[in-house]
Assembly symmetry: C2
Homo-oligomer: 348 residues x 2
């Protein structure tokens, strides 16, 4: 039986996911028996279409790339079942999807509207897969317990470092370990800027270059002041270390205070500035922080350059386990959704 | 219902596993509902005991550490069901185990007696978890298809880089990716020796130090001539890249030809010698090799020092994903068995 998917939001991540699904259709079916259908797409700008028998993904992508509303989708099902213009909540509640991929724009501080989307999905017996940090950062425990109550899954690999396996690594192959600390480079934009500054560029020029490359947004505050990394730290503390902390418990400092003189000082000390996110179990409880640290060149995280991300789990049984990979990107974040879809499929 | 386990071999790995299981009994039960029983242990030197109602693991460990045969185990079950002196095959065939942990001494070239142990387990409906390279390196396809035929699992995380997740990372969180190459430092002993040589030590002295630390065996051929890494390359090619190759298709060169002059030359070139295992998909088919390579210091694998292992997957969707961790050790290899047991439990 096909795994029926509804997409809430059809921007870069949703479209990236669709491209991967099309590209890997045969591979996923042959290798894992994973057979899927996109039954609904709802986007406040790009339009909305639902058909319980499944939509043609190539046609959806074509409409989006041509800038034509999804409301103009021509459904080939012979039962005239297609529905148009459904908003996110109606799509989540009334579609026949097994899983809702929540990829809409969300306010990270309030977690809305993603939190309401998740609740609606769980309450109607649907799994959530999301790369939106909001729900997990604002109310992981609430989301998780509501999902469990309705016997569905709340999957969030994409909330931390795109598709590089962090959440599913900790909860899968490292499930038997417990973690005394997690430390990592969780924001590619700031790592890129620091690398450029080390190569001699001024902060403003490096930021501009990051913006040109699409790493940094027009308003770079979320990255350079550490808010993006902070949300990931909160999620990791909650999900991976069973430590329910919120934003006010995270010490936060961005990279805007790093001067060329400080870069030179680090160089002279055989070290390098990195914006590190850290969660540690201490005798006084959990300590969480995002702040620039001068890392000796001999440290494994010192060699992580440009927009690459990396994270070290300090484990009780395996010592340090470090994973290094991409932290962003259209296909990479699309993959984070796919990896969770496969995990749900295998647990079905 | 308890997951019933038989241990074939009760050396460092088997004992390490038992220590972890005891230590984590409550954690594994609470967090994953994983409830286990050791029902049998069979070791050609340390003796053999079986009780269908389960054995007391602390008592087993005490006997082993006191050098007393397991045949002297005093079983507390009230039905006098305990059996003593069963060899490996009888234990595998006739015990009530769900899963056999195959941890006996095995010839890597023939894969025996582990291959016969695996066959006996599969044919009697039991899963195999093993850190023995033999079965997977000599006949992965045969083992896998026999396991599938009998609807049981063939789990081998511990065959490559102990409990650092490689097999289960590739088959789990990276399941949606395909790999164009895998490249890694797969042998800790040789990496340690090369690091010591870079620090100024002669090869012979470095080898001796590695032997003193328990990294290298009295006969170091398997490590220093690249046979150990080669077995891992064969397993990775077969398991992770669906490329059925055998030993004769792997180019193999150890580290015994590396001279202080070569080390100095690398240093001058801002590089470092590493013994790398590589598997690449090329237009001419799969190319596999184990050989020393001069790696630029800017390469992520250059920074992997001492006995640490690391592996980079070149993926189609995520770019390079690198994982770094311990490659050996009593608890680390014991953990590789636990991680597979948990995976089987979750799939039950």
């Amino acid at each position: 039986m096909s795994h029926k998917i509804a997409l809430i939001g059809f921007g870069t991540v949703g479209q990236g996911l669709c491209e991967i699904l099309l590209d890997k259709e045969e591979y996923l079916n042959e290798k894992y028996g994973f057979d899927w259908q996109i039954v609904a797409v709802s986007d406040p700008v790009k339009g909305s279409v639902y058909c319980p028998d499944g939509l043609n993904v190539s046609k959806l992508l074509k409409l989006a790339s041509d800038g034509i509303s999804l409301d103009k989708y021509e459904c080939k099902c012979d039962k005239a079942q297609a529905r148009f213009g459904w908003d996110a909540l109606k799509t989540i509640r009334e579609s026949n999807a097994d899983t809702v991929c929540e990829l809409a724009f969300t306010n990270v501080e309030t977690g809305q509207p993603a939190i309401d989307h998740c609740k609606a999905a769980f309450e109607t017996g649907k799994n959530i897969v999301t790369s939106n940090k909001g729900p997990a950062a604002v109310d992981f425990a609430g989301m998780q317990s509501l999902a469990e109550k309705h016997n569905v899954k709340f999957m969030i690999e994409g909330t931390v470092v795109s598709g590089t396996p962090i959440i599913n690594l900790a909860g899968g192959p490292l499930a038997g370990c417990s973690f005394s600390s997690i430390k990592g480079i969780l924001n590619g934009t700031t790592n890129y800027i620091l690398c450029q500054m080390e190569a001699g560029m001024e902060y403003e020029t490096a930021l501009q270059k990051a913006q040109e490359l699409g790493y940094a947004e027009a308003d770079p505050t979320g990255d350079v002041e550490g808010y993006d990394a902070m949300a990931k730290v909160i999620i990791l503390a909650n999900v991976v270390m069973d430590a329910p902390i919120s934003a006010k418990e995270v010490e936060r400092e961005g990279i805007t205070g790093i001067t060329p003189a400080m870069i030179a000082e680090a160089k002279a000390k055989q070290a390098r500035w990195k914006l590190l996110g850290t969660i540690e179990k201490t005798t006084d409880g959990i300590k969480a922080a995002v702040k620039p640290e001068m890392v000796p060149l001999s440290h494994p995280l010192a060699g992580i350059m440009d927009a690459t991300n990396a994270l070290t789990f300090a484990t009780d049984l395996m010592g340090d386990i470090t994973i290094v990979g991409a932290g962003a990107g259209r296909i990479e974040t699309g993959y984070s959704i796919l990896t969770d879809l496969i995990a749900i499929h295998r647990g079905m």
